[in-house]
C-alpha cells in the first residue's frame, strides 16, 4: 500500500512539474551535440559538413524508393522507381501505383544546410582557389537540390539565404517562383558550378565522387533536356487552375528550343572535353559486349572513363552499404536473404531490345508460328512456336538484354535459372497450380522443378517472378548475400552514355546542334553493345536506345513525366508477362511461350494531376497548391 501511495505522489509531483514547465532552467546546451559555429568555422569542419550534404543529395540510386525516400534502407519493400513505368513490376505488389515521391520538407532542410554553409564559408579564411572551388560546389549542390524540387513540384520558392527564426510568420513565408524561374535558376547555378569547379581533384576516387566541372555539365545536360521536354509537351496534358495561371506550373512551348540549346551546349562541352568515353567501345562480339556492359554496372570503378559523377558505397554491414543484391537476386540464388526476386522486368522492355538480325527496330518476342505478336491466355487452337530449350527464343537479342535481365534458362552464379509458368498436358489442358504430370514415365513439375528452392518463377509467392524475367543489371554475380546491408556496389549517377543520349534527343527534338554528331553518338552506344550496322537519327530510334541503354537507372519514370506520355500509356493499362510453359502435346516435350497480362496485375491509370506532386502544408505556408491536389 505504501508503495502504491508513493507512486501517486510521484505522479502528482510530475504533474505539478508539467504544469509549471514554462521556465527556462531546462535550456542548457546539449553535451552530446556540436554547435554549428564549431563545425563551420574550420576548413576541415566544412569538409565534413560537405560530405554529409553529398549524402543528403536527392540521388535516385540503389537506396531511393518513391515511398521511403532517399537513403532508405531496411525493409523498404524494394518498391523502386523502375516498377512504376514500363521497365518492371513488383513481385509482391504488382498493383502498387502510389504516386508519393514527396521531398518537400527534406528538400528545404537540405537547402537550409546549403545556405548555412554558404553563410559560414564567407567568414572562414580559405585560399582564393579553395574558395572558388567551394563556391562552385555550393552552386552544384544547390542546383541538384532545386532540380529535384522543380521536377516534383514545378515552381518552388527559391530561398538562397538562411532564414532566421522569428515569430513574425509573414516574413518567413516565401511565395513560389514560377516553374520557368525555377528551371532557369537551376541552370544558372550549374553555369556558376561549371565556371568555378575544378576539372579534377586529388585522386580518381575524389574526382568521380565529388562535384567537378564535368559533373556540372552532365547534370546541366539532363536538367535542360527535362525543362525543354516539359515546354514542348505541356500541351499533351495541360492543367488548369490558379497555379497554372500564375505560371507556377507549366512552361510555354516557345521556351523549348532555348532549353534544348542549353542541353546541346552542355553535352557538347562534355563530348568535346576529351576526358570521357564509353567503356570498352569496340567489343569483339555480342558476348564480349554483354560482359563489358555487365561489368560497367557490377563495378563502375573499372569503367571510370564513362563516369561523370558517382556515389560510393562501402562498409558491408554498416549504414553505407545497400541491399540491391538482396532484394533482386533470383529465388534460386537467394542465399538466405529474406526477400528476393522483387524487381521483375516486363515484356514491354524486353520487346524494345533489337535483334542483331534486324537492326534499327524493336524486336518483340514472337511466340506463335504466324510471326505476329499475340497476347492472351493459352489457347489450345493457337499454333505456338515450339522450342527445345527455354533460352532459344531470345537468340540474337541485343547484348544489353542479356546483361540487364535474367531470362528463363539463363545462367546466373553458375546456376540455371528455372522460370516456368505451367504445363500443357498431352490432352491440351493446362496445369498452372503446383503439381505434377507424369508423361511417358517422366514426372514434370508445374514450375520446372520439384521444390521451390529449385525454381524462380510464377508460384505466386513474393520471391518468385511474376513477369517471367528477373533483374541482372547492377547485381554482383561474384557476391554471396546472406543478410542485410551486404552490397557495396557503387552507383553511377551521371555517365557518358546518358550525356550522348541527351544530346541525340535534344538534337532530334529541336533541329539544333549537329545531326552528324548526334547520329554518331547514337551509333557509338549501339556499337559498344555489339551492333555493326549504323541506324539513322530519328525520335523512335533515340527513345528506344534510351530505354534499353538506361534501363533500371531510374530515368524512364522521368522520361514518362517530362515527355507527358505517362497518362497516354497508363490508361487502363496492364503490364505484360512472358510465361514459359512446358508443352507435352507433341512427340517430344517442348517449351512454348504465352504473352499475357502479368498474373495478378490490374488495369492502372495515371491521373494527369500527378505530373506534379501536392505541396504539403499549404494552410500554414500560404503557398498556392498544384492543380487538382
Amino acid at each position: 500500500m505504501m508503495k502504491n501511495r508513493s507512486y501517486k505522489y510521484l505522479i502528482l509531483a510530475l504533474l505539478i512539474g508539467v504544469f509549471s514547465s514554462c521556465n527556462d532552467y531546462l535550456e542548457l546546451d546539449p553535451k552530446n551535440k556540436v554547435p554549428v559555429e564549431a563545425v563551420l568555422s574550420d576548413p576541415n569542419g566544412i569538409k565534413g559538413y560537405l560530405a554529409n550534404l553529398y549524402y543528403e543529395l536527392p540521388m535516385e540510386d540503389f537506396v531511393y524508393f518513391p515511398r521511403a525516400g532517399y537513403n532508405a534502407r531496411g525493409n523498404t519493400g524494394s518498391l523502386s522507381l523502375s516498377q512504376y513505368g514500363l521497365e518492371a513490376i513488383h513481385s509482391e505488389w504488382p498493383n502498387w501505383n502510389e504516386f508519393n515521391n514527396q521531398w518537400w520538407t527534406r528538400g528545404y532542410q537540405l537547402n537550409r544546410d546549403i545556405n548555412l554553409l554558404e553563410e559560414s564559408v564567407a567568414k572562414v579564411s580559405f585560399s582564393a582557389a579553395e574558395r572558388t572551388a567551394i563556391e562552385g560546389e555550393i552552386a552544384f549542390l544547390r542546383a541538384y537540390t532545386y532540380y529535384a524540387l522543380v521536377k516534383i513540384y514545378g515552381g518552388v520558392p527559391i530561398i538562397t539565404e538562411n532564414q532566421e527564426y522569428t515569430t513574425d510568420w509573414a516574413s518567413l513565408r516565401v511565395p513560389r517562383n514560377t516553374e520557368k524561374e525555377t528551371w532557369d535558376f537551376v541552370l544558372a547555378q550549374l553555369d556558376i558550378a561549371f565556371e568555378k569547379l575544378p576539372a579534377s581533384r586529388q585522386s580518381a576516387d575524389e574526382t568521380k565522387r565529388r562535384a567537378t566541372k564535368w559533373a556540372a555539365a552532365g547534370l546541366k545536360s539532363r536538367v535542360a533536356l527535362h525543362a525543354a521536354s516539359v515546354a514542348k509537351y505541356w500541351n499533351r496534358a495541360p492543367l488548369s487552375g490558379e497555379a497554372v495561371t500564375a505560371g507556377l506550373v507549366g512552361l510555354p512551348a516557345s521556351e523549348a528550343n532555348r532549353y534544348y540549346q542549353a542541353a546541346i551546349e552542355a553535352s557538347e562541352a562534355v563530348m568535346g572535353s576529351g576526358q570521357f568515353g564509353l567503356y570498352m567501345p569496340n567489343p569483339a562480339n555480342p558476348q564480349d559486349a554483354a560482359r563489358n556492359y555487365q561489368n560497367l554496372f557490377m563495378d563502375p570503378n573499372v569503367a571510370l572513363t564513362e563516369v561523370l559523377f558517382m556515389r560510393g558505397y562501402g562498409h558491408a554491414g554498416g549504414p553505407l552499404a545497400h541491399d540491391y543484391d538482396g532484394w533482386n537476386n533470383p529465388n534460386q540464388t537467394g542465399e538466405g536473404f529474406p526477400h528476393v526476386g522483387r524487381t521483375n522486368p516486363v515484356l514491354e522492355l524486353v520487346d524494345q531490345y533489337e535483334n542483331y538480325g534486324n537492326p534499327g527496330v524493336a524486336s518483340p518476342i514472337i511466340t506463335t508460328t504466324d510471326g505476329q505478336v499475340r497476347e492472351g491466355e493459352f489457347n489450345p487452337s493457337t499454333n505456338y512456336i515450339r522450342f527445345s530449350s527455354p533460352e532459344e527464343i531470345f537468340q540474337g537479342k541485343d547484348a544489353r538484354f542479356f546483361a540487364s535481365i535474367i531470362h528463363p534458362g539463363a545462367e546466373w552464379k553458375g546456376t540455371e535459372i528455372v522460370i516456368q509458368g505451367g504445363i500443357i498436358r498431352p490432352d491440351g489442358s493446362v496445369l498452372n497450380a503446383k503439381g505434377t504430370v507424369v508423361h511417358q514415365g517422366v514426372t514434370y513439375h508445374t514450375y520446372g522443378a520439384a521444390t521451390s528452392n529449385q525454381y524462380s518463377g510464377f508460384e505466386g509467392t513474393p520471391n518468385m517472378t511474376r513477369s517471367g524475367f528477373l533483374l541482372k543489371k547492377f547485381l554482383d554475380e561474384r557476391a554471396k548475400i546472406k543478410t542485410w546491408l551486404q552490397s557495396t556496389t557503387d552507383y553511377i549517377d551521371i555517365r557518358y552514355a546518358e550525356v550522348l543520349l541527351n544530346y541525340a534527343e535534344a538534337v532530334v527534338e529541336s533541329g539544333l546542334g549537329s545531326t552528324e554528331r548526334a547520329t554518331q553518338a547514337l551509333n557509338d552506344i549501339r556499337k559498344r553493345a555489339g551492333h555493326t550496322v549504323a541506324i539513322p537519327l530519328n525520335l523512335t530510334n533515340v527513345l528506344r536506345e534510351r530505354s534499353v541503354e538506361l534501363a533500371f537507372e531510374n530515368k524512364e519514370y522521368w522520361d514518362l513525366i517530362r515527355r507527358r506520355t505517362y497518362h497516354q500509356i497508363f490508361n487502363n493499362y496492364v503490364k505484360t508477362a512472358l510465361v514459359p510453359m512446358l508443352d507435352l502435346r507433341g512427340a517430344q516435350p517442348a517449351y512454348i511461350y504465352v504473352r499475357k497480362d502479368v498474373p495478378g496485375a490490374r488495369p492502372n491509370t495515371f491521373p494527369e494531376r500527378d505530373y506534379y506532386r501536392s505541396i504539403p502544408g499549404v494552410n500554414n505556408n500560404g503557398l498556392i497548391q498544384n492543380p487538382q491536389h
Binding site: 502528482l12 504533474l15 488548369s240 491466355e377 494552410n619
Partner: protein
C-alpha cells in the same frame, strides 16, 4: 481509500485540463446542410453523362475564411451529384474539367437541402445510339453532333460489368482515332469481337456497353451516351 482514489483522479484530470487547455472543447456544429443537382445540356435539357472515376469535378470554396482551400465533389456517371455533409454558408462553386465548354463560377448560398443545377454546352452530343449483339460481335452505331469547331480526337466503345463503364473504367474497349471535325450525318460504327475477349467478357453474363467521343480541348473528358446492358 476510495475517496483518495477519487480525489487523485479528479486532481489528475484538473491538471491535465489545465496543462493542455483541453477545456476549450471543439464546440463547432457538424455539417448541417446538403447540396445536390445535376449537369444539364442547356439546349436539350438532358443530363450530360460523365465519368465518376477521373471525371469532371465540381470545385467549391467556402466564404468567410482567410486562406480557404478549394474542395471538390465528383459527379456520378448519369450527370447528377450530391453532398449531404455541407456546412451552411455561401460558396463559390464551379464545375471544372468537364466534357462541356468551361463555365464561370457562381455564388451559391447553401442552407438546408439546396439544389444547384448547371446548364452547360456539351462539346459533343452522342446521338442515335444503337448497341446490339450481332453474331459474336457487339456492334455500336451512332452519330456525333459537335457543338464546337475543335477536332474529335477519338471515339470509343467501352465494356465493363459495372454500369459506371467508360474510358477510365473498362475491361474491354474499342477505340478509333478520328482527329477530324465531324458532321452530324456520318454514322460511326464500333465493334467488339467477343471471340477475342473470352476471358474479359464471359458468355452467359451481362455487361454494360457505352459509347463516347473525346474532343480536342485542354483537360476535356469524354462525352457519352447512357450505357446499355447486354447479355452475351
Amino acid at each position: 481509500m476510495k475517496s483518495i482514489k477519487t480525489f487523485s483522479i479528479a486532481l489528475v484530470s484538473l491538471f491535465l485540463l489545465g496543462g493542455c487547455e483541453l477545456n476549450e472543447l471543439d464546440n463547432y456544429d457538424g455539417p448541417d446542410a446538403s447540396i445536390s443537382g445535376a449537369i444539364y445540356d442547356q439546349e436539350t435539357g438532358e443530363l450530360v453523362q460523365q465519368d465518376i472515376i477521373n471525371g469532371m469535378q465540381i470545385e467549391y470554396i467556402e466564404h468567410g475564411f482567410d486562406n480557404p482551400q478549394t474542395q471538390f465533389m465528383v459527379v456520378k456517371n448519369d450527370g447528377t451529384y450530391r453532398n449531404n455533409l455541407m456546412f451552411s454558408g455561401t460558396y463559390t462553386i464551379r464545375p471544372v474539367r468537364g466534357n462541356f465548354v468551361p463555365v464561370n463560377s457562381e455564388e451559391v448560398v447553401v442552407s438546408g437541402a439546396t439544389t444547384k443545377n448547371f446548364n452547360v454546352q456539351p462539346y459533343i452530343r452522342v446521338r442515335n445510339v444503337q448497341i446490339n449483339k450481332k453474331g459474336n460481335k457487339i456492334v455500336a452505331t451512332f452519330n456525333l453532333d459537335q457543338t464546337v469547331t475543335n477536332k474529335v480526337v477519338r471515339i470509343g466503345l467501352f465494356a465493363h460489368r459495372e454500369p459506371n463503364v467508360g474510358q477510365p473504367l473498362n475491361s474491354v474497349s474499342s477505340l478509333v482515332n478520328l482527329n477530324e471535325v465531324t458532321n452530324d450525318v456520318t454514322q460511326y460504327r464500333l465493334e467488339i469481337n467477343l471471340d477475342a475477349y473470352t476471358s474479359a467478357l464471359k458468355a452467359g453474363n451481362e455487361y454494360y456497353f457505352r459509347v463516347g467521343a473525346l474532343i480536342d480541348a485542354p483537360e476535356a473528358k469524354y462525352n457519352y451516351a447512357p450505357p446499355v446492358r447486354i447479355g452475351i
